[in-house]
C-alpha cells in the first residue's frame, strides 16, 4: 500500500475514533420562569425540538488539516474554499452551528399547550444546547415544565 493511502487510512481511523468518543453536550443558555411549589396536581412535561446540521467551519478546518497531513492539495483547496464560503455567508454572532430550518423551534408553545390542554404551565426551564459530534451538530431547544390542572 502506498504510504499516502496508508496515511489517509490512519487519519480515517483516528477520525472514526474521535467521532465515537467526542459527543459532547454544549450548554448555551438557560432561562427559568416563576416557580410554584404546589406540585400536588402538577404533571411534569418535557418538550424537545432539534435540528441536525453540518458545521461547515469545522468541516473546512478538518479538510485543511487532513489535506495538509496527507499531502492532498485538492483536499486542502476544498477546505480553503469552504472556509471562504463560511466567512462570506456565516459571519456575525451565532449560538451553535447554523441550521437549515430556522422555524424548528417556533412550534414549542403549541406543543406545550397540547401536553397541558386544560391546565396551565409553570416552573418552566428553557434550555438551548448543542449535541456536538465532529462535523455533525444537533441544535436543541428543550423545555421542561409542570402542568397544573384546576
Amino acid at each position: 500500500m502506498p504510504s499516502r493511502y496508508r496515511r489517509l487510512t490512519e487519519l480515517a481511523f483516528c477520525f472514526g475514533l474521535w467521532s465515537l468518543v467526542s459527543s459532547c453536550a454544549v450548554l448555551h443558555k438557560v432561562q427559568l420562569s416563576d416557580v410554584e411549589s404546589q406540585t400536588i396536581h402538577g404533571k411534569p412535561v418535557s418538550i424537545k425540538v432539534s435540528q441536525t446540521t453540518i458545521d461547515l467551519r469545522e468541516t473546512a478546518r478538518l479538510a485543511q488539516g487532513i489535506g495538509k497531513q496527507a499531502g492532498s492539495k485538492a483536499l486542502s483547496n476544498a477546505g480553503n474554499a469552504l472556509e471562504t464560503y463560511t466567512m462570506l455567508f456565516q459571519f456575525g454572532p451565532r449560538t451553535g452551528a447554523p441550521v437549515y430550518n430556522e422555524f424548528y423551534a417556533r412550534g414549542i408553545p403549541e406543543q406545550l399547550s397540547e401536553e397541558c390542554k386544560s391546565g396551565y404551565l409553570s416552573n418552566i426551564t428553557s434550555v438551548r444546547e448543542t449535541r456536538s459530534y465532529p462535523i455533525v451538530k444537533g441544535e436543541i431547544v428543550r423545555i421542561d415544565a409542570y402542568c397544573f390542572q384546576p
Partner: protein, 110 residues
C-alpha cells in the same frame, strides 16, 4: 518607591485576568412582596470539554421549590455564567437563579 516585579505581576494578574463570562441573563416579573429572597445555584466543572449532558440545570426548579415549600418563587433572575480556569482546559458552568418567595397565588383563570 520602586515596586518589585513580583508585586506588579500579582497586581496585573488581578486586573487583567478577567476570565468569567455571563452567557445570558433573564428576569421574570418582580412581585411587590420582596421580603423573602431565595437563591439556587447549580455548577458543573468541565474538563477538556467533556460534558455529556446538561441535566444539572433542571435541578434548579427543585432547589427553588425546596427553599419555598409553601409558596411560589416569583421575580426570578437567571444568570448563566462560564468561568475559565487554566488555559481553557478546565472551566465551569454556573447557573444562578434568584427570586422572591411569595404566598401561593393560583394562575388558574375562570
Amino acid at each position: 518607591m520602586k515596586f518589585p516585579s513580583i508585586v506588579l505581576l500579582v497586581l496585573a494578574s488581578f486586573f487583567c485576568a478577567s476570565c468569567t463570562y455571563t452567557m445570558a441573563v433573564s428576569q421574570t416579573n418582580i412581585p411587590e412582596n420582596r421580603s423573602k429572597p431565595v437563591e439556587a445555584v447549580e455548577k458543573k466543572f468541565i474538563v477538556l470539554g467533556f460534558n455529556f449532558d446538561n441535566d444539572y440545570v433542571f435541578k434548579l426548579v427543585d432547589e427553588l421549590k425546596s427553599k419555598c415549600p409553601q409558596g411560589d418563587v416569583r421575580g426570578i433572575m437567571t444568570q448563566d455564567m462560564r468561568t475559565l480556569y487554566f488555559l481553557d482546559f478546565f472551566w465551569s458552568r454556573e447557573i444562578v437563579a434568584k427570586g422572591y418567595c411569595v404566598p401561593h397565588q393560583s394562575l388558574i383563570g375562570g
